[in-house]
């Protein structure tokens, strides 16, 4: 069971949250001009990192706000939590 620190509500159990997958995926800025391959990349292709993974979580049974988490997908350790729109506190990975 993960123990996730919501930036607004503080640490809560994983069951209060929903997982939102990889973070920092940018929607094509000019949708009409995007090719099928670009759409495929945006919609489906994922890093699926083994190691430090930046991902989105929703505090669905709490404040119902989205935020970002950097988590190790091997140890499941949560390395940092930061709000949507913010840059990750740790630059690498």
């Amino acid at each position: 069971m993960l123990w996730i620190a919501c930036p607004w509500c503080g640490p809560r159990e994983e069951t209060e949250f929903s997982y939102g997958g990889e973070a920092h995926i940018v929607r094509p800025t000019n949708p009409e001009a995007a090719s099928d391959a670009e759409w495929a990349d945006y919609l489906f292709m994922r890093k699926n990192t083994q190691g430090h993974h930046r991902e989105q979580w929703l505090h669905s049974a709490g404040c119902r706000r989205w935020f970002n988490v950097e988590r190790d997908t091997m140890s499941y350790e949560i390395l940092s939590v930061y709000k949507v729109g913010e840059q990750p506190p740790r630059g690498d990975a």
């Binding site: 069971m1 993960l2 159990e13 994983e14 069951t15 929903s18 997982y19 997958g21 099928d36 391959a37 759409w39 495929a40 990349d41 919609l43 489906f44 292709m45 994922r46 890093k47 699926n48 990192t49 083994q50 993974h53 991902e55 988590r71 997908t73 091997m74 140890s75 499941y76």
Partner: protein, 415 residues
């Protein structure tokens, strides 16, 4: 050596101390015609069919740890082919047909037990979904039946079929040819048969890089040095993205933990595989008597071979609701594997933008049943450098063209 009653008696007389090793442990050669990365069920099956169907025996199967140590050795052993869409039905049905003769073909007891797979319906929507799928199965030549509540009760008397149950059972689909098989034996059987045809199975040989020259594969870097090959097939399930990154590819795969449990051995009580997609649980009883239970994946990405307890609790709550008699059964073990989930819950068996590099992945939570079929069509794809008609729809290109094969929920992707 051929396994038979006679060989069993002969070896019994020498206290089973003189059995020959089932496969060699060769050092890697400098070059192979084909390298398969990953000695799991699908990888070994691929090597076997490359040798048997295509006469390509200069093949190495590279395994970073030990043979059959991944999901083939820790899955919930269910075999069936009652999928909804034509593409998937044909692929899994071909696989099931291979299963039906595989013990004889490999001279290895895979303990295939076609005891029937029951998919429960708990509401009108489930019931409609089930009848749609049963009819689709029949049109594709796959055995399928719709059961009423009474028929379900007659088949599995310990199910709670009371109309007052939290999840009342309105009916079910039944595939009688579905069932279970001994999971690890499949890996061993394919390994032994592939080895006998000259395939080198090289264990403790992790791939660290995929060397390319001008868009063409030239070999793989491994912990035992560089090995040359013009064709490389990657069949590494949960670690697909790691290997894809080595080749500069982006794939639509997400690795998730998938948990399962096994109970203390009990006397025979459950004679079919029972699955329920609505409550997300499935259960069967092994020949040894243990109940094998599974649920859905953990929502988050994870390679850590463990998941969260909440998923197990949810699974057990559903099982106890369906089978009140199991409420005091003690669980013996609980574990997790890493599964490679595709957005449309269908596998990828495909060529890639890199020439000579092939990927077989995305089986997610249900690859076990497909082991022989997957190997068969993937061997064809590698040998002929073009897909078999059965795996043509499962190309990587479908994510660009939009021709997804959306089996999510439709066929009950619980396994």
């Amino acid at each position: 050596m051929k396994y038979s009653f006679l060989s069993l008696v002969r070896n019994g007389l020498s206290y089973h101390e003189n059995w020959a090793r089932q496969w060699r442990s060769p050092s890697p050669k400098r070059e192979y015609d084909v390298i398969i990365v990953g000695a799991g069920g699908h990888g070994l099956a691929t090597a076997y069919y490359l040798a048997k169907e295509h006469g390509i025996t200069n093949v190495a199967v590279l395994e970073k740890s030990w043979l059959g140590g991944g999901s083939i050795g820790r899955n919930t052993t269910i075999v069936r082919s009652n999928y909804l869409w034509d593409e998937t039905s044909h692929l899994y049905e071909m696989s099931l047909k291979l299963w039906e003769n595989l013990s004889q073909e490999l001279n290895y007891n895979l303990m295939l037990s076609q005891r029937g797979v029951v998919n429960l319906a708990h509401n009108l929507g489930d019931m409609r979904g089930i009848s749609r799928r049963v009819h689709s199965n029949r049109l594709n030549g796959i055995d399928a039946e719709i059961l009423s509540t009474d028929q379900v009760k007659a088949l599995v008397p310990i199910l709670n079929t009371s109309p007052n149950a939290r999840y009342p059972i309105l009916g079910a689909s039944l595939q009688r040819r579905g069932g279970t098989a001994r999971h690890d034996a499949v890996a061993w059987g394919f390994a032994r048969a592939a080895d006998a045809r000259g395939v080198d199975i090289i264990q403790e040989c992790g791939v660290t890089g995929i060397r390319r020259d001008n868009g063409q594969v030239v070999g793989v870097e491994t912990t035992k040095g560089f090995i040359k090959a013009k064709k490389v097939g990657v069949v590494v399930a949960g670690h697909t993205s790691v290997l894809a990154q080595m080749a500069g590819l982006r794939l639509p795969i997400q690795s998730h933990p998938l948990q399962a449990l096994v109970s203390d051995p009990l006397k025979p009580i459950l004679n079919a595989v029972v699955m329920s997609n609505a409550v997300h649980a499935y259960i069967s009883q092994t020949d040894k008597g243990e109940l094998v239970l599974g649920a859905g994946i953990d929502a988050y990405n994870g390679y850590g071979l463990r998941g969260s307890l909440s998923v197990v609790e949810h699974n057990l709550a559903a099982i106890v609701e369906l089978f009140p008699i199991f409420s005091r059964v003690r669980m013996l073990r609980q574990w997790a594997g890493t599964v490679d989930v595709c957005p449309d819950a269908s596998p990828i068996l495909s060529k890639t933008p890199v020439r000579g590099l092939y990927f077989n992945c995305g089986w997610g939570t249900g690859g076990f049943k497909a082991t022989p079929g997957s190997g068969f069509v993937f061997a064809h794809t590698i040998a002929q450098d073009r897909p078999h008609p059965l795996n043509e729809p499962f190309s990587l290109g479908r994510f660009t063209t939009g021709h997804l094969i959306d089996e999510h929920g439709a066929a009950g992707v619980a396994h």
